[in-house]
Assembly symmetry: C2
Homo-oligomer: 253 residues x 2
Amino acid sequence: MRKNAIGIVGGGGGMGRWFACFLAGRGYTVRISERDGGMPLPELAAACPVVVVAVPMAVTVEVIRKVGPLMKQESLLMDLTSLKEEPVREMLNATTAEVAGCHPLFGPDAPDLKGQNVVICPGRGESGKVWLREIMERNGARVVETTPERHDRIMSVVQGLTHLNTMAMGLAMETLGEDPAELERMSTPAFRAKQDLLEKVFGPSPRLYAELVTKNPSAREVIAAYGKAVAQLKRFVEEEDAEGLEKWLRRGV
Amino acid sequence: MRKNAIGIVGGGGGMGRWFACFLAGRGYTVRISERDGGMPLPELAAACPVVVVAVPMAVTVEVIRKVGPLMKQESLLMDLTSLKEEPVREMLNATTAEVAGCHPLFGPDAPDLKGQNVVICPGRGESGKVWLREIMERNGARVVETTPERHDRIMSVVQGLTHLNTMAMGLAMETLGEDPAELERMSTPAFRAKQDLLEKVFGPSPRLYAELVTKNPSAREVIAAYGKAVAQLKRFVEEEDAEGLEKWLRRGV
């Protein structure tokens, strides 16, 4: 089936809009379904040989269960969720069409695909997956294919640990209560790099970050490893043991 | 006294070399004293109306006590240490010459002073401090004058918390044990930004970072605030409470 029309469920959200613009710019007919408007799901599924689920993580399963049974045979159902185990399993259950999980490893502020990483978790069928992979690679992305389980495990570090780390910094700063203007005047390049990350996580949409930190299947293991690291650091600080800490850092990453 | 010759104790270290190049490039005669060579301290102090202590934190006090009594009246003794309470106190005790604490808030990889922050902690006398401030500002630095106590307090966040945060991330990654190449292939921009910070702290010279984290007068307060933040995050993760965490992030920084 020729993939000339792409339906995006949640096409008004950050990544939904990014994909809509990206595909429209490459000659595809893009149709949007939104909670509050756009094309109703039955029409979208009937008109589009590819349907992309790009809704917030908390409603992904619900949307997959609605749109999956409406999909035409030989069409492709895919999603853009930041975790892959549950969405891919639900897509396989909800439809007999082709299925591919996709996780673009960048935010809606990326100007294009050049140098960006994209994960594809094959679900069912070849033609949809090949189409997806080709359009990504032709536009400069580095594509990795892996299982949903492996994806989520790696993301427990790449996203889970990263954002947990940023949250811990921000929350400790709040407790210490120093004046942000004074911190800024005496800032270092490393501190400013941390501030840029803080502004995203504590910015207008913290929900995604909260989901990434709490919903990953390895989330408990990650926070346990983190707590262990902090307990070890605490001992070095309390004993003012710079030498011991230095030795320990040399063993690390 | 005309500040035409500058003596740098520890002129072969990162920041010592940076200052030597910077001052030599602006027409000053720069003389270097090193642990293993260069000009002996008595000659350096006799020849130079400004002496800069730029040695590792662990030997700063020892060097100040040696060079301070050798300083000529009306000359300037200054240091570049990342903490200021102890070095400024020791400089005031060790000499009757002018004294200024200085903390350049950047690393030896900075191409020039443009847009960099520099803290000056006045110790004794005006002419040395004014000379220092002028040469910094004329070359594009943003100079802040403050007390050693205030400096160290702000640095407990700007450097102490920042590097503690980076260390916790690196040590947790070590525990989780995922393959670095696989993490890189599936990395996001935020993860790559963290990696850049990790490479510095876990790089060839972790001693400075270990000192900054353990020796700041507020170090225990910082690790306590950090431990509290992590304990709170742990509860949200264990209860898979994305909604609660989101609400809490909205209150933050």
